[in-house]
């Protein structure tokens, strides 16, 4: 087991330097770059590439209304336009 894994807690959270730097043989490295270069699999989420998600649950909906001809855009008026009702 790589020693740098000790710098992650049980939940995979980083608990080392805030800038994610590590020191190996007196030389500073970024922990994620160092792990990648040395084939070390780190816990946690930050270093993992987001997996491409394919949503297979989407079903083609029947967009029947889209096949109807568009209306003229006119608003049909009802009544004489007088908002005051007759008594």
């Amino acid at each position: 087991m790589s020693k740098i894994l000790r710098l992650f807690d049980a939940d995979g959270n980083w608990k080392g330097n805030p800038d994610h730097s590590i020191t190996v043989n007196g030389v500073k490295h970024d922990v994620y770059e160092y792990a990648k270069a040395n084939g070390i699999e780190l816990p946690g989420k930050k270093h993992k590439k987001a997996e491409k998600q394919v949503n297979i649950d989407i079903q083609d909906k029947d967009y029947a209304d889209l096949e109807k001809p568009l209306d003229s855009g006119h608003t049909e008026e009802h009544g004489d336009g007088d908002s005051e009702g007759s008594e």
Binding site: S2, I22, T23
Partner: protein, 160 residues
């Protein structure tokens, strides 16, 4: 799982500081005690034994843990009498002798694996004592034992 081989010369390290951050292995300004020949960490839980008439064996319970660090070293002049060049760490500037004589509480750590990230060390605070430098014609260098009487717990940590 692996044994910790300390023969590289940079793994079993005693580090002293007047603050906890200055006593972290590899920290800038820390006093890394040189020329240490051996290093012993003693952690001893106190126990009380008692016997009862209904048992053929005595029973026991624990009280408090007493921690101590002991070492032997060759006397390094700057470490023993002080290095004025270190202005950030009063333990380094005062030296072991004055720190012991002044009964100054120190922070310390003992690196088990060195100063690389992820290396384990124990840390605590306490008082330097047990200095007894000696020299003779046959033993042509100054040697001294030393100890740290730990005030409280020893805590496991990793170099970040």
């Amino acid at each position: 799982m692996a044994v910790i081989n300390v023969t590289s010369g940079s793994q079993a390290i005693l580090v002293l500081g007047n603050t906890a951050p200055l006593a972290v292995p590899g920290a800038a300004g820390s006093l890394e005690v040189p020329l240490v020949q051996d290093l012993t960490i003693s952690t001893a839980p106190g126990t009380v034994r008692y016997s009862t008439l209904d048992s053929t064996a005595s029973s026991a319970f624990t009280t408090v843990v007493e921690n101590e660090v002991t070492f032997n070293m060759l006397v390094d002049d700057d470490t023993f009498f002080g290095d004025g060049a270190n202005t950030t760490n009063s333990i380094a500037s005062d030296g072991l002798w004055s720190t012991s004589n002044g009964k100054t509480e120190i922070f310390f750590s003992i690196a088990f694996e060195g100063t690389d990230s992820g290396d384990y060390y124990l840390t605590g605070q306490g008082f330097i004592g047990g200095l007894a430098p000696s020299a003779s014609i046959d033993q042509a260098v100054w040697l001294s034992p030393g100890s740290i009487t730990v005030n409280g717990d020893l805590t496991k940590s990793t170099v970040s």
